[in-house]
Amino acid sequence: MIVIVDYGAGNLNSVKKAFTYLGAEIVVTDQPKMLSAADKIVFPGVGHFSSLRALDRSGLRGALLQAASTGKPFLGICLGMQWLFEGSEECIEVAGAGIFPGKCRQFPSSVKSPHVGWNSLTVQPGSRLLRDLAQDSFVYYTHSFHAPLVAATTAATEYGLQFAGAVERGNIFGVQFHPEKSGDVGLSILKNFCEV
């Protein structure tokens, strides 16, 4: 069973629909105790970094950190990936999980922000999440802040600078783009997560 964590930020239908299409058993929940029963956890999210404040109020933050530390396969999408870092300049009062080093920052003024649309991935070899993905595959992005390149970066994207499109360490995975909106490429990434 894959649990999609609902903390009140945005619309989770698309993520749920994509996993259902792939034949996965899905539960959407805002209950921290459901995370311990999950085989895998998907942590989506859109919008402002400050919406992650809701995690503290609901007790979800502790449950998410606990699940990630026990090696349960964990996929953060968009804001969910940014949360895996130390924090974001978008809202410095809210702490990220600190699983990956560095803070999320705004794009340079040389490019329009937000970064919206299909952009390509420079894929590093050896990623389990991005297994069998063609180099320069296109994925759909929509975000104003980006995570830095770190040792765990498995795919980089260029938009005014190089940023982390995907990160991976052990069973912890993060993608800044939206695999549920990235056509066949995105579905193959979600399928890889189902098979981790």
Partner: protein, 253 residues
């Protein structure tokens, strides 16, 4: 490299996709779910479904169409038409839309943009602007192009962005359905006025029109309906021509 998006638009009348010329003379163009899937398969980067009649009587028909279309669609999906309040938007998101487009209601109450963005994120809010050239400037029209709003399109685009819109869908009423090319002057003026993406709409007729609106109009995306429905232009072929002209596009899809 960030690519330019090609967006296929389905105009809905009741449960059917239709297409008119300058917002009139509607012709039947098929079932929405089938059209959407076919367009996505041939390379559309995004699908927009607009309820052009947008009367309260057929809301359930529209929501059924959104549900059926969303089921097997895995590219971004925008729905517009008849969204007057937060609850209307919520119902459309619940039926499977990723973004909503609002037009008349946003002009009437710009705070609605922020209300929807606050709950669903700015990335989910597209403000649609229908504009027509008038005495050297571009005037906004509402109610499906029937009523002048007494507002300047560029100024309204700026305000919409400041209120929390994630994208502007900009339709030239002068060009809509004519296949005589996008209004690059209008598109460029808006694209240079806002930092959010601008989707050019109205007038697509050939690959050259797309090349022009991306180069001269500085559009981030371009939307078309007529040419794709009636098979006048295959999206895959269009993307090959754009690529040959060094316009970055998602290919292969």
């Amino acid at each position: 490299m960030l690519t330019k998006r090609i967006i296929a638009c389905l105009d809905m009348d009741g449960s059917r996709v239709v297409k008119g010329v300058r917002f009139k003379n509607l012709r039947d163009a098929g079932d929405p779910a089938e059209c959407a899937t076919a367009h996505a398969r041939s390379g559309a980067d995004e699908i927009v479904l607009l309820d052009i009649t947008a009367t309260s009587g057929n809301r359930n028909t529209l929501l059924d169409a959104v549900r059926a279309t969303a089921r097997s669609l895995f590219v971004p999906f925008t729905v517009g038409g008849g969204i007057r309040q937060l609850e209307d938007a919520a119902a459309v998101f619940d039926a499977g839309a990723d973004k909503i487009a609002i037009n008349s209601a946003a002009v009437r109450d710009p705070a609605l943009i922020g209300k929807i963005a606050g709950r669903f994120g700015s990335q989910a809010v597209v403000v649609a602007i229908d504009a027509r050239k008038s005495q050297g400037s571009f005037e906004v029209f509402v109610a499906g192009g029937r009523v002048p709003a007494g507002r300047d399109a560029i100024q309204w685009a700026r305000e919409a962005a400041a209120c929390g819109a994630g994208e502007i869908l900009l339709t030239s009423m002068d060009r809509d359905g004519t296949q005589s090319g996008f209004d690059c002057e209008l598109v460029r003026a808006v694209a240079e006025a806002v930092s959010i993406p601008v989707i050019a709409s109205g007038g697509a007729g050939s690959a050259r029109d797309f090349i022009e609106v991306f180069r001269d109009g500085r559009a981030d995306a371009a939307l078309a309906a007529s040419i794709f429905h009636f098979g006048l232009e295959d999206i895959a072929e269009l993307k090959r021509e754009l690529r040959d002209a060094s316009i970055p596009v998602r290919w292969p899809c």
